[in-house]
């Protein structure tokens, strides 16, 4: 087991390195591809008078004239040992893990990430819990009452749910619940530590919006999985042994129907974060996704890179957790 985890960790580090290289490459190579010189790029950072002096200053500060590898190396170096940034006489030390400073606001990217991450992860984790619970429950009930009104109703809902883009559901739900009927306040993020109750109250709509789509998918998957498992021979055997029906369903049926669900969930974590980005935009939450969009529209490489790294890290860790869960849920899994 430990060897397995170590191996997985090594792979994770490798993946992060690949991700950072690719993102770096995108920002580095695409503008060049478009035929923009470093002067053109630097000019975009000077709001007013553009002088050769100013351009040189920006280029030096951002290291625009350095080669790809040098810039990438500085980035990696910052993460592990920190960097010093000189602004005239004043020097700003950026301690490890330093992911640089925003080109635009001069804020340390790491602080920005720490700041924004709770918002995105609050949305993502809450929604994931909700969708798994709702999806699996509905799926199981539907499978057990196959053909019933509940089954048909739930599956029609699920099909509708799969087909609704979440930014539409989000806008409609704000319109209905916050504006027309005023049941809920317009969501705005409140820190969990400040007041968990308002935290949750504000997050209900984003959670439901994001979870709706996936709950629908998972309900369909769970139902299909359960139907298949419940038809297997060993279930018949278990019943023949005289096990109570509840035990048959939970211990034998559900357990093996759940294993593929866990795998799929592992694969969906990336989608979950993508969904969180859309949810943030829909509800105007200043999370990582907004930060990313800002970073992109304002050509703020350190910020965009930081967000990609942070989300990549999250996905990798989450996948690790899922893999371990998987090993627990399905003893047949080979750890090698």
């Amino acid at each position: 087991m430990i060897r397995y985890i170590i191996r997985r960790l090594l792979v994770a580090v490798l993946l992060l390195a690949i991700i950072s290289l690719v993102t770096f490459g995108i920002f580095f190579l695409l503008p060049k591809l478009a035929g923009q010189s470093t002067d053109d790029l630097a000019a975009r950072y000077l709001g007013r008078e553009v002088t050769p002096e100013g351009l040189a200053g920006v280029k030096a500060k951002l290291g625009l004239d350095d080669s790809f590898l040098v810039r990438y190396w500085h980035f990696i170096e910052g993460i592990f040992v920190g960097t010093d940034y000189k602004f005239g006489t004043s020097v700003t030390h950026c301690p490890a893990p330093c992911m640089g400073f925003s080109y635009r606001t001069n804020e340390p990217v790491f602080d920005l990430l720490l700041d924004r991450a709770p918002i995105t992860f609050s949305i993502a984790i809450g929604a994931a819990v909700l969708w798994l619970l709702a999806g699996v429950t509905i799926g199981v009930v539907s499978a057990l009452r196959r053909g019933s009104a509940f089954d048909r109703g739930a599956m029609s809902m699920a099909l509708a749910g799969v087909s609704l883009p979440m930014f539409f559901t989000g806008l409609v739900s704000i319109f209905l619940f916050c504006r027309q009927f005023k049941i809920l306040p317009t969501p705005r993020y409140e820190a969990f530590l400040g007041n968990p109750a308002t935290w949750a109250q504000n997050l209900i709509l984003p959670w439901v919006t994001l979870a709706f789509l996936y709950a629908a998918m998972y309900a369909r998957l769970t139902r299909a999985g359960m139907l298949e498992t419940m038809g297997e021979d060993y279930i018949r055997t278990a019943r023949a042994k005289g096990l109570p029906e509840r035990d048959v369903i939970v211990r034998h049926g559900l357990r093996s129907a759940l294993t593929p669900i866990i795998t799929i969930f592992g694969l969906d974590i990336g989608l979950l974060l993508g969904g969180a980005v859309i949810t943030e935009t829909t509800f105007s939450f200043a999370g990582l996704g907004q930060l990313m969009l800002q970073g992109i529209t304002r050509s703020d490489l350190p910020v965009a890179l930081g967000v990609t790294m942070a989300t990549g890290l999250f996905v990798i860790v989450a996948n690790l957790v899922v893999d371990i869960l998987y090993a627990v849920a399905d003893p047949r899994v080979r750890l090698a």
Binding site: A34, P165, F167, F175, L221, L267, L271, G274, I278
Partner: protein
């Protein structure tokens, strides 16, 4: 963004040869696989309904733009200059006999025309992106599955990376920094081409995994062995022996990938990195509506419903197609 979860989840279910289970291979000459599937599909009313809607949508996208007028024609006279919302129509939507779905804000452009023209772009992008994804996915899936070894490891790992990461974020990064003109293209032509590339490129692993799995099981079968022992070379086996046996899952998952790609495109446009203004797109309309939907709810409702109906129709049809081609997965 959503991804075809069913695709990955149904990996174990969709075995094309399951369709043939119990059917003597030599006896099918009279009734092809397609005919059998068609017979089954015809009995599935819901799927046929979905299929009809899909056909109508395609028809609308092809013919519609010629019927509904210019989507960019403003009707400023329909907008209240002080309250800046349509003067007339139910809930200030501007709905009238001339504008069946009302007009948008602030220019007063016909919503119907914008939605119909939006369908054109939405469908073009999602179809072509799907084709790209299928071509890439099938190629890499077959190659990985057939050759195995390090080729398989490399391709399978790559697909895992693709599948595990927040692709929407990558797509945003790519589209966001993409220049205005490149490769001799510019403006919206370039945008559309680029969106097709991004969406297709980020969704090929979904179908790649399935095809790889199918290939893994197919390559152990007698007819492949036979071909190999007769000295057939790899390309021949790949394209003449394996591929014809894979068309059923390809068709099913391509159909199910289209709605996902429609939502992918709409998401990018909604986030402001999709098709450029004033070219109509459903996601872009929702983006514009985001600012004013309280004043003019119809501006949000119609494009949203357009996406919903389209995606639902494709999903229904795709589900039915899968059931028809693979009875074991019937639900």
């Amino acid at each position: 963004m959503t991804a075809p979860i069913e695709v990955s989840g149904s990996e174990t279910e969709a075995q094309p040869d399951a369709v043939l289970a119990g059917v003597d291979r030599k006896a099918i000459q009279g009734r092809s696989l397609g005919q059998i599937a068609w017979l089954r599909l015809k009995r599935d009313k819901v799927a046929i309904g979905g299929g009809i809607v899909v056909m109508l949508l395609i028809l609308m996208a092809v013919v519609g733009p010629f019927l509904v007028g210019d989507p960019n024609q403003p009707h400023n006279d329909l907008i209240d200059p002080m309250l800046s919302r349509p003067k007339t129509g139910i809930m200030h939507s501007g709905i009238s006999s001339h504008h069946w779905l009302g007009v948008d804000l602030p220019a007063g452009r016909d919503m119907l025309s914008r939605i119909v023209n939006g369908a054109k772009y939405s469908l073009i992008i999602s179809f072509l992106a799907t084709i790209l994804a299928v071509v890439l996915g099938v190629f890499f899936g077959v190659v990985a599955g057939y050759f195995g070894g390090w080729v398989d490891t490399l391709i399978a790992r790559t697909m895992d990376i693709f599948l595990a990461f927040p692709l929407l974020l990558f797509a945003i990064a790519l589209v966001g920094v993409f220049p205005d003109s490149a490769f001799g293209l510019s403006g919206n032509g370039l945008r559309v081409a680029f969106l097709i590339f991004v969406i297709g490129f980020f969704s090929w692993p979904y179908i790649g995994r399935i095809i790889r799995g199918q290939t893994l099981s197919l390559r152990e079968r007698e007819f492949v062995d036979a071909a190999r022992s007769m000295g057939a070379r790899a390309p021949y086996i790949l394209f003449r022996e394996l591929l014809p046996n894979l068309w059923a899952p390809i068709l099913v998952y391509a159909t199910l990938m289209i709605p996902t790609n429609i939502i992918f495109e709409a998401s990018l446009s909604f986030l402001g990195v999709g098709i450029k203004a004033p070219t109509p797109s459903w996601g872009g309309m929702l983006n514009e509506a985001k600012e004013v939907y309280e004043v003019a709810p119809h501006f949000m409702f119609f494009p949203g419903m357009a996406i919903f109906i389209t995606v639902l129709a494709f999903n229904l049809f795709g589900d039915g197609l899968r059931d028809a081609l693979d009875p074991r997965s019937s639900r």
